[in-house]
Symmetry: C2
Subunit: 158 residues, 2 copies
Amino acid sequence: MKCEVICIVKKEKSIFDNIIEKYSSRVKMQMDFSIKKIKSGFKGKKSLSINEQKKIEAKLIENSISDSDYIVLLDENGFNYDSEEFSEFLNKRLISGIKKLVFIIGGPYGFEEKILKKYKNHIALSKMTFPHQMIRLFLIEQIYRSCSILNNTKYHHK
Amino acid sequence: MKCEVICIVKKEKSIFDNIIEKYSSRVKMQMDFSIKKIKSGFKGKKSLSINEQKKIEAKLIENSISDSDYIVLLDENGFNYDSEEFSEFLNKRLISGIKKLVFIIGGPYGFEEKILKKYKNHIALSKMTFPHQMIRLFLIEQIYRSCSILNNTKYHHK
């Protein structure tokens, strides 16, 4: 199974890049993993309303995925797993024959309603609101932690 | 009110330092804020049991706080606030006349039972387990976000 994290970004570079790269390279040693950054292209278009931004982001997202992908949206109203439950969620996808699991982190205002309705798997990493760059880091760390739980290595301990 | 984050660390330096410093300096513009790193000193003492480690950490923690401090432990079994609730929690402490609010992030195996029983305010940033360095970053970002919520600045938006 391939696993991809898609994220809407304003800028190509971020202060989180080094740390994200560290966890990402660890995940790549465990599974076929990639990160796809989609530039929102809003620079200089500050006059766009929140709904207009979400609409543009929705199109960018739809253009980046296939009908056969298993989509999971990172949404703060989504289901709160603990790390063991999240590893179980990943494991079920791994053994179910899915070709590509795609986690999507939306823009700063979340997803357009259409996207939320179309893709019904919503997960939240916390009840708290965090910057989107941080969500990317948390998610990749949790994917790595899941690998540790599933492979019973000592990175994760209770 | 002073606000301090105390954390048990293995090493003085961490790859999160730059980002933590960024958020920390933002918080300092809003309140009297500091971070205190306590070195656990376990290097080369890998034969210590988990309980022995927790006991040593508990002593280091007790030596770093005063009886008059208002203590909050970061514990994964603690209460899950959302960001608005957390800002309300902070605000209540601010207006209650507390001199020093201290958040404590324990070692990799959590706190000794004695500490958990003595200090009854336990909060969790997520149901998920994260590395302790990351918890430090999450917490400081949430303190900054709380300042934004309380001061109604645009860093935090729904």
